[in-house]
């Protein structure tokens, strides 16, 4: 067996470099290795909630986005067992909310949908939960439909750390967990959220939508009609604003 160098890790047998402070995810993406993820967005602090990026490091299962790369790590990522678990987790996210892909404005631009394609998911497998979740159409420019929220926390982090507005939070326990708006009314209209904010556009699914943009880009020419989630995942990055 080959040995791994002082500042390298090995993912599925491929040796890649890392710099101290990088997570397994950081190192992998930098080296062009895709580890499936939904709640991670390079440039934002990682959260570790979706668990799609769980890999095996030695005999431990760890989330790549929140685990530091360490010299000599032997990591398994693209294995049938891990991809089966990822498919099951994606199915869980589908049945937990109300996902209406064919009629959703996000279709073709949706990461959950793209992840399902990437993993070869053919059905929901589990019984639907059909939750009742509040819709907030109060904002003139932005729609919040919690029915499709996957609780990825991206809008929360984007608003807090990039937009510096702290518009969102996740409240509640277990499957009661839900997105709340940081205003006395709890309504988006009373928040400072703007259409140009990162928090308004980062949503991976159709939970936060910009109004009056419906089907501007025709189906067939949308993001994941043109590329796979693997390709997007390797490219995207939030630019930090000044002072960060």
């Amino acid at each position: 067996m080959m040995t791994t160098g002082a500042d390298t890790i090995r993912i599925d047998g491929e040796e890649i470099p890392f710099t101290p402070g990088q997570t397994i995810m950081d190192a992998a993406l930098a080296a062009g290795i895709y580890i499936p993820h939904l709640c991670h967005y390079p440039g934002l602090p990682p959260s570790g909630n979706c668990r799609l990026c769980v890999v095996e490091a030695g005999n431990r299962s760890v989330a790549a986005c929140i685990t530091a790369a360490a010299a000599g790590q032997e990591i398994r990522n693209d294995t049938p067992a891990l991809n089966a678990a990822r498919t099951a987790i994606t199915q869980m996210l589908f049945v937990e909310g109300n996902h209406i892909c064919p009629s959703c404005e996000k279709t073709g631009n949706c990461k959950l949908q793209a992840m399902a394609y990437h993993l070869g998911m053919l059905d929901d497998h589990f019984a639907q939960f059909y939750p009742h979740r509040e819709l907030d159409a109060s904002h003139p420019g932005i729609l919040l439909d919690r029915s499709r929220c996957i609780l990825c926390d991206l809008c929360v982090r984007a608003s807090r750390d990039i937009d510096k507005k702290n518009v969102f939070a996740i409240a509640g326990r277990g499957t009661d967990a839900h997105l709340v708006v940081n205003t006395p009314s709890g309504k988006l209209a009373d928040s400072t959220l703007a259409v140009t904010d990162l928090a308004a556009t980062i949503c991976p699914v159709g939970a936060i939508l910009i109004k009056e943009k419906g089907f501007e880009v025709p189906i067939g020419q949308r993001i994941y009609d043109r590329q796979t989630i693997r390709e997007t995942g390797l490219q995207e990055h939030v630019e930090r604003k000044n002072g960060d």
């Binding site: 987790i89 996210l93 807090r160 499957t175």
Partner: protein, 601 residues
């Protein structure tokens, strides 16, 4: 790693929350919200805004905290707010009758709802730690134990008459701790101050060395080496250090800390002060589960006595540079807050979402500073070790597991209660001692632990065999194990913090699948389904709750396959019950006649 906190954490504000010179002095966000809940029977929006501005935190943080903890509500609860424990030992189903339904019927209350006149609400809550006291409930937060049909009948009258609970029979609120077996820690009481005097005499290095040499490991479940933990914390850079006692005792079937807090609080505080002396902390917290709030006045008195004796506060035992004091923070109904990093989040006035680990609390704990979190029993053991020495401690127990373990034994046995044994005792011995005959199975370590079949009763209680935080549940032959699994699955689905997908959704799916099998709609595929789901929840989840939530199902499938298979349907069966699905339509139309039902042939 940059993202330690789900909410931006502002140490200055958080420190202010605890600062005694602050007008909100003694107040913690959870305590403030508790007071509001008491006053209005819920937490109305204006009160949330008020709290947010008082504590100078985002309103969304207050809303998230209110939504997270079971004992807070945004809808008014009844003037008599009754929560039955749903534990397999102290729950409303532990006897012959369904006491919850009985009370609901007699008082005309829908479970989980508040009666229209606002007089009473009745619901259920996870184990309240009264497992040796019979069926139990909390009324306005105070435990009533030893429930039976008789008491329920009297309660109906008391509630209907609006009799304040202060005037309810005093005996109802008494809990008697029965210790059936005493060993190292429960035989002799330490003289107050003896551990601290010895520590001051020998110095902090030597005190730590003795703890390290004793082989003491954490008593809360995970069994981490206590001496190592203290040493890591002491060595970690930081501007302050903290000592936290985990008195959350949320694992169903565990009630040994309840005894320790009531009878040995002084030794606990001394153990915490010892730790403070070793690591150089000035501040400590006891995180007390909300279910044990009734112990608070007693604990406050014991704290005051300790201060008077010079064992807490400034210049402990006259030592110029040794200041240490303890605050008690009371939780509000969330099992996950027993997980040490969730506990710290809760201490910081946030929802109990487990942090990313590493970094561990020993380096980045409360307010990001080095923090030791130990179980109640661990601190008490440390005090005894300091007085009696490491050899005394190591003489008891087994090679991997030094000393003794205090067990809370409950379920189908003649003598439920507290048993202290040296590590290495067999399950069979415990069962003999507690008068358990005709045992079908034992659940050791609570629902998160291990299910043992009689073939395994020769196994021993030790860190390298069957480990337990203290819970030992006995199930007799007459018990339906499937009902037990269903109960446990409901527990985890209810207590999952909701942060990560596999646990948040997976625990619901496990619950639903077990419901299906129980209701006679399970088929052979459900067995494979449970196995697969169980493995995903176990391996892909973020924290210990998810890692252990499926253990009971996986154990059951392996050791008691018949429990599941005999309930399966031999032919194709719809997972979906059409008639059941129409229940809500029947409810809306106030119909329940034959024509409103499908033919269920």
């Amino acid at each position: 790693m940059c993202c330690l906190y789900r909410f931006g954490s502002n140490p200055a504000i958080l420190a202010g929350m605890m600062n005694r010179s602050n007008p909100l002095a003694h107040e913690h966000l959870l305590h403030r919200l508790h007071a509001i809940q008491q006053q209005f029977r819920h937490i109305p929006p204006h009160a949330m805004q008020q709290a947010a501005s008082e504590f100078n935190i985002p309103l969304s943080q207050v809303a998230a905290v209110v939504a997270f903890y079971s004992f807070f509500s945004t809808q008014p609860r009844g003037r008599f707010d009754i929560l039955f424990s749903n534990c397999t030992s102290c729950g409303y189903l532990s006897g012959e009758q369904d006491l919850l339904r009985m009370l609901c019927q007699r008082l005309q209350v829908t479970p989980g709802k508040t009666r229209a006149d606002g007089l009473v609400s009745i619901g259920e809550t996870s184990c309240i730690g009264m497992c040796d006291q019979g069926a139990s409930l909390l009324v306005n937060g105070v435990p009533v134990t030893g429930l039976n049909a008789d008491k329920i009948a009297q309660m109906v009258q008391l509630v209907t008459d609006g009799t304040p609970i202060q005037q309810w029979p005093a005996a109802w609120f008494e809990t008697s701790d029965t210790v059936h077996r005493r060993d190292l820690l429960l035989t002799n009481r330490l003289t107050s101050g003896s551990a601290l005097r010895k520590a001051l005499l020998q110095g902090s290095d030597q005190t730590l060395t003795v703890i390290q040499q004793s082989g003491l490991r954490g008593r809360g479940g995970a069994g981490f080496d206590t001496g190592k933990k203290w040493q890591f914390c002491r060595a970690a850079p930081g501007s302050a250090r903290y000592v936290v006692c985990n008195a959350d005792e949320g694992e169903p079937g565990t009630f040994k800390d309840r005894l320790l807090l009531r009878e040995y609080a002084g030794t606990l505080f001394e153990g915490m002060a010892l730790c403070a002396f070793v690591i150089g902390a000035e501040k400590g917290f006891v995180y007390l589960r909300g279910e044990y709030r009734y112990l608070l006045p007693h604990l406050q008195i014991r704290l005051d006595q300790h201060r008077e004796q010079g064992l807490l506060g400034k210049h402990i035992l006259g030592q110029a540079d040794f200041d240490f004091d303890i605050d008690i923070v009371v939780g509000a109904g969330a099992y996950i807050c027993g997980e040490e990093s969730a506990l710290i989040e809760s201490l910081e006035g946030k929802p109990g979402i487990p942090r990313i680990r590493p970094p561990f609390p020993v380096t980045h704990g409360y307010l990001g500073q080095p923090t030791v979190v130990n179980n109640v029993e661990t601190f008490i053991a440390a005090a005894h070790i300091t007085v009696h020495g490491s050899a005394w401690f190591k003489a008891a127990g087994s090679s991997t597991s030094a000393g003794s373990k205090i067990l809370s034994v409950s379920g189908d046995c003649g003598k439920p209660g507290i048993y202290e044994y040296p590590f290495g005792v067999t399950i069979r011995q415990v069962l003999d001692d507690c008068g358990a005959t005709d045992v079908q199975a034992v659940q050791i370590g609570g629902p998160a632990g291990t299910l043992l079949s009689p073939a395994e009763f020769g196994r021993v209680i030790a860190f390298d065999d069957t480990a337990t935080g203290g819970s030992l549940l006995v199930f007799g032959q007459q018990r339906d194990l499937l009902a037990i699994h269903r109960n446990f699955a409901h527990f985890f689905a209810h207590e999952s913090c909701g942060f990560c997908t596999p646990c948040r959704v997976g625990t619901q799916l496990l619950k639903n699948t077990l419901n299906n099998i129980t209701d006679g709609r399970g088929t052979a595929t459900d067995i494979g389904e449970l196995q697969q789901l169980g493995r995903i929840v176990q391996h892909q989840s973020h924290c210990g709750l998810g890692h252990t939530a499926a253990n009971h199902v996986l154990d059951g499938l392996q050791k008691f396959p018949h429990t599941f298979s005999r309930r399966l349907q031999p032919q194709f069966t719809a997972r979906f019950d059409l008639d059941q699905a129409l229940a809500s339509a029947r409810q809306v139309t106030h119909r329940d006649d034959a024509a409103a039902h499908l033919d269920n042939e």
